[in-house]
């Protein structure tokens, strides 16, 4: 039976664990920071010499750590893009604006083990010559902000933060900044604008790549909470051991948020790719299966913006055989390993690690209307396709789900969504379009039936009305 693998949440989920400094230290806290600060320079085979900071950066790259926020981009590579020659300060921002519907994993760290995040941040900041860092926390998490501020005070008092950290002459300050309740603030350039005190309009890229022109037009690293927490473990375990967790190119552990029509919704930590979607839904260690008498209809595998997968779908995945040759194998939905690459190969994504399970009691039309309403509400409205398209989708799906649909609405919705994806300033365009594109394409008959039923009802009421007169 598949099991959880507790690394990031190892302490947080142990009985009696509290988010204060004392408890953290008792569990070996800030030892990774001490280890990092004592890193020796490293000689490379080619004669180059890596500074201690470069060693940590190299280790993060070697660990294979991929961003846990949604895109799954290599964290080490992201750090390597930072412009270190501009002469400007380098900033690091922890993206704690966790707001993708279905996602409730970062808050586990923020609420239960804030020092783990802070330790990961201090290491990451030191490795990147960052003197000032921010934690941008979602406005709806005031409790998390209080816990973080308390933890930062404790860290300052203990010399893990502030001037001359642990006597090595390194200064770092971290501030908590609360958002005001907008999903778009999770988009890294929107977040940066918001942090600068402006409306969270994502920036156009080019030219505003955060690694070059980020916060206050200075080089900036934006990493997710879970990603930064993982950095602590990479230092602690060493990159080689960390990379042994999970599967090749999908290393380490991930927090998974499981919600929807399962017996035991909740969060779980798994080795990436070592557990399948089916196990996450059905195993007693995870979701515990569907509700009695229900059958699976669909899975939204990586947060509400990821493309829905239909029960019974079989995907072609490339696998490396015993002989080292790549072969294509058929993998049914429930056998998909829960990792970055498999979900992408299945045409969706593992995104923020949020799995939403839909059983046969769910109307796909109503579910989509719910999702589209969310994206219409959260579109920042900066660029035309998303601003106008997101609300158009919401209105269309609402109409269809309220008995005022038409048979052509399936095509109508596809048309609108296709004109959003790939045309916008930020990835919100995809987030708004993908649910529509995947729902309508995969459950077309349900959408058309909804529209046809409404058309028939209107026809009947019209003819009945004529008859009466």
């Amino acid at each position: 039976m598949a099991e959880q693998f507790k690394l990031v949440l190892k302490n947080a989920d142990s009985p009696g664990y509290t988010p204060d400094m004392e408890c953290y230290l008792k569990h070996g806290g800030y030892q990774a920071l001490r280890k990092a600060l004592a890193t020796a320079p490293r000689d490379l085979p080619d004669g180059k010499k890596l500074s201690p900071q470069e060693v940590i950066r190299d280790d993060v790259k070697a660990s294979g750590l991929r961003g846990r926020g949604g895109a799954g981009f290599s964290a080490g590579l992201k750090w390597s893009f930072v412009d270190r020659r501009s002469g400007k300060p380098i900033y690091l921002i922890c993206n704690a604006d966790e707001s993708e519907p279905g996602t409730f994993k970062d808050r586990q760290i923020l609420h239960k083990d804030p020092h783990q995040l802070i330790e990961g941040m201090v290491i990451s900041c030191w490795a990147n010559d960052v003197k000032l860092a921010y934690i941008y926390i979602r406005g709806e998490m005031p409790h998390g902000a209080r816990i973080l501020n308390q933890a930062l005070r404790e860290a300052r008092a203990k010399g893990f933060l502030g001037k001359n950290i642990l006597g090595v002459g390194y200064d770092l300050e971290i501030h908590v900044h609360r958002g005001a309740g907008a999903y778009i603030c999770g988009e890294e350039t929107g977040l940066i604008e918001s942090l600068e005190g402006k409306r969270a309009y994502p920036r156009i890229k080019p030219p505003y790549f955060p690694a070059v022109l980020g916060l206050y037009m200075c080089p900036t690293i934006v990493n997710n909470v879970e990603t930064l927490a993982a950095v602590k473990h990479i230092v602690e375990m060493g990159p080689v051991n960390y990379a042994k967790l999970g599967t090749p190119n999908n290393t380490g552990t991930r927090l998974v948020s499981l919600s929807g029509d399962v017996q035991k919704p909740g969060y779980f930590e798994i080795e990436v790719g070592k557990v399948t979607l089916g196990q996450l839904i059905n195993d007693a260690n995870f979701g515990g299966g569907l509700k009695p008498g229900r059958t699976l209809k669909a899975v939204i595998p990586g947060g509400s913006s990821s493309k829905v997968l239909k029960a019974g779908e079989v995907f072609k995945l490339k696998r490396k055989g015993a002989d080292g040759q790549m072969t294509t194998v058929d993998v049914p939905l429930l056998d998909l390993p829960y990792d970055f690459d498999s979900l992408q190969a299945a045409g969706s994504m593992s995104g923020s690690g949020a799995i939403i399970v839909l059983d046969d009691s769910r109307s796909m039309v109503e579910t989509l209307a719910n999702l589209s309403e969310f994206y219409a509400h959260e579109s920042c409205g900066q660029c035309t396709p998303c601003r106008e398209g997101a609300l158009w989708l919401a209105k269309g799906t609402h109409r269809l789900s309220h008995g005022e649909g038409r048979k052509v609405d399936a095509e109508y919705l596809l048309h609108i969504a296709q004109n959003i994806q790939g045309r916008t300033i930020c990835a919100f365009g995809e987030a708004a379009a993908w649910p529509v594109l995947s729902f309508v394409k995969k459950f077309r008959e349900e959408f058309e039936a909804h529209g046809a039923a409404a058309e028939a009802a209107r026809k009947n009421s019209t003819s009945a009305g004529t008859h009466q007169h």
Partner: protein
């Protein structure tokens, strides 16, 4: 031949421009690697700029060459391709026929679907191919337009922008004939009083943020922003603030649709009835280039006309609205001799006779620096014949950081180069006043000024034997005149002004002058001819060219050489 021929030094041209070779619409073009950004600083040339150089217009709303890039309208999305590079050799991969293999940009997650990039912000790269007219580009444009139109009120029949609206123009060029939108439209505030001169219709707004960027980055008045979210986004002035600086009306020009309208112009005239005349603003020494919009001899608006040597695309609100006096009811419309209506023939005949007998040194000429250079030149000819003292009247107020000059005369430099004034305008006015008081000056010729405001009061005017006044509107000096010669507003005649920086700019006639009024240069030329005996020219071109021969600063100039944007002369 004793002189050995020395090789002529190579002309010191601009340094060679670094170029890139790209393809636009299948045509190979060489374009500069960098081009000026909105502040004039060199930046990597964008796809939109490259297309423009290749003669292909990429439609756009939010992009404006003189504003920071926003990239929000997505109208300039274009499909493009880049050379496929061999990762090992870093050399372009060739097709079988030897040509460079091009990879069209596609969605990373859907390789069959073309992906556009915004022309306004995407730099070109060597070997790039831009497809501004490909089916995919056209489809992207159509889709953006559709999005912009679904919540637009489509109230073109009552919209002031109609006829000069980018939403209309692009709908014709790139839009679709039918709409499939069946939902209820978003409703937003209408007739929002944004400031003393600006009215906003939020439903028409396409949220391109040109106005916001102009206010913040050009006018330095960060008064505008967006409130609400998504499709409910709405332009608004900051809470408790009015949009009220001296440049607000530029946002009406910038607004590509009918969202921002001028309170002065709205609902007054359909723009397609307006005749457009190239002219110059008279409100200060900057000489902003303008377009006069008129219909049937009525001026309806001034708009800035782009001239990077003077005003860029902007002008101030005060200058823009400074046209109402032209159609005032009390305009001087008749030739008056001692208060009695007369005619030009009689007045000029009598004046010729009188001026011919004026004793040398007993006359003075005060000519406004609002008169044209040609008029000032003619008055200087007359003054020379009479041995008259001449001067002009200064108008000095505070300058601003953008366009408004401290010198509120449009032609102070014209008064200087023609010799009407020397150095500081008005320096000789006390001399003239003293001369009148002492009885040595008995004849005064005044053009376009109320001299009672500058030390020559009604009491002094009463001592004169001959007071000749030409003006446009009544004033105490006109009231005291023996001869009143009604003149023209600058939109009623042609001429030139020499601005504060030595830019000589011509303006053209937009409307007919009322009543018996005549352009001053026309009757002056007759008078000066009659008095001095010097032959004149009956056309503006001839007059200007004669002036250019006489005035050293204008040496070598001809009317035809002035162009629409003027020439800079050394002053």
């Amino acid at each position: 031949m004793s002189n050995a021929e020395t090789p002529a030094p190579a002309p010191a041209g601009p340094p060679p421009v670094e170029t890139l070779t790209i393809k636009v619409d299948g045509r190979t073009v060489q374009v500069p690697k960098t081009m000026p950004d909105w502040q004039g600083k060199p930046q990597a040339t964008t796809m939109l700029q490259a297309c423009a150089l290749a003669g292909v217009d990429v439609p756009h709303y939010c992009y404006h060459p003189k504003l920071p890039i926003a990239g929000n309208c997505r109208m300039c999305l274009v499909e493009f391709g880049t050379p496929v590079m061999d990762p090992a050799t870093r050399q372009p991969v060739k097709n079988e026929d030897g040509s460079v293999k091009i990879a069209r940009s596609v969605l990373p997650y859907e390789p069959g679907t073309p992906r556009g990039a915004i022309g306004c912000a995407t730099p070109i790269s060597p070997g790039m191919e831009i497809y501004p007219n490909s089916p995919a580009t056209k489809q992207m444009r159509e889709a953006v337009l559709e999005s912009l139109l679904i919540n637009h009120p489509l109230d073109c029949p009552i919209c002031d922008q109609a006829g000069e609206c980018k939403l209309q123009e692009y709908s014709v060029q790139h839009g679709q004939a039918t709409s499939q939108f069946v939902e209820a439209k978003v409703h937003k505030p209408k007739a929002v009083d944004l400031g003393p001169r600006i009215m906003l219709d939020d439903e028409r707004c396409i949220l391109c943020t040109r106005c916001i960027r102009f206010a913040k980055d050009i006018a330095g008045d960060d008064a505008l922003g967006i409130v609400n979210r998504g499709s409910y986004n709405t332009i608004a002035a900051a809470p408790g603030m009015k949009f009220d600086n001296n440049y607000t009306l530029n946002t009406v020009d910038l607004c590509p649709v009918g969202a921002l309208t001028s309170k002065d112009f709205r609902f007054k005239m359909r723009v397609w009835f307006l005749k457009e005349t190239k002219s110059v603003c008279t409100s200060c020494a900057t000489g902003c280039n303008i377009t006069v919009g008129s219909r049937e001899d009525t001026v309806h608006r001034y708009e800035p006309r782009e001239n990077d040597a003077v005003n860029g695309p902007w002008m101030c609100d005060a200058g823009r609205l400074n046209y109402k006096w032209i159609h005032r009811e009390d305009r001087l419309k008749h030739v008056l001799i001692r208060g009695q209506k007369s005619n030009w023939a009689t007045a000029l005949k009598e004046l010729t006779a009188k001026l011919a007998t004026v004793a040398a040194g007993s006359a003075a000429v005060i000519a406004s620096a609002r008169q044209t250079t040609e008029e000032l030149y003619l008055l200087r000819q007359l003054a020379a014949k009479l041995g008259a003292l001449t001067d002009s009247v200064p108008r000095t107020q505070q300058a601003d950081r953008l366009l408004v000059s401290a010198d509120r005369n449009p032609n102070s430099n014209g008064a200087r180069v023609t010799g009407i004034a020397t150095g500081e305008l008005g320096a000789r006015l006390p001399l003239i006043a003293a001369g009148i008081r002492a009885g040595t000056i008995t004849t005064l010729i005044v053009f376009g000024e109320d001299v009672t405001q500058c030390g020559i009061g009604a009491d002094l005017l009463a001592r004169l034997e001959l007071l000749v006044v030409s003006d446009i509107l009544p004033n105490p000096t006109v009231a005291a005149a023996h001869y009143v010669l009604p003149g023209c507003a600058h939109v009623e005649k042609r001429g030139t002004f020499l601005n504060g920086k030595g830019r000589l700019q011509k303006f053209l006639k937009g409307v007919e002058a009322p009543g018996d009024t005549r352009p001053e240069w026309e009757f002056l030329h007759e008078l000066v001819h009659a008095v001095t005996g010097r032959n004149g020219y009956t056309s503006m071109e001839g007059l200007f060219n004669q002036m250019a021969q006489d005035v050293p600063a204008f040496a070598g100039l001809e009317w035809a050489k002035l162009g629409d944007q003027g020439v800079t002369v050394s002053i």
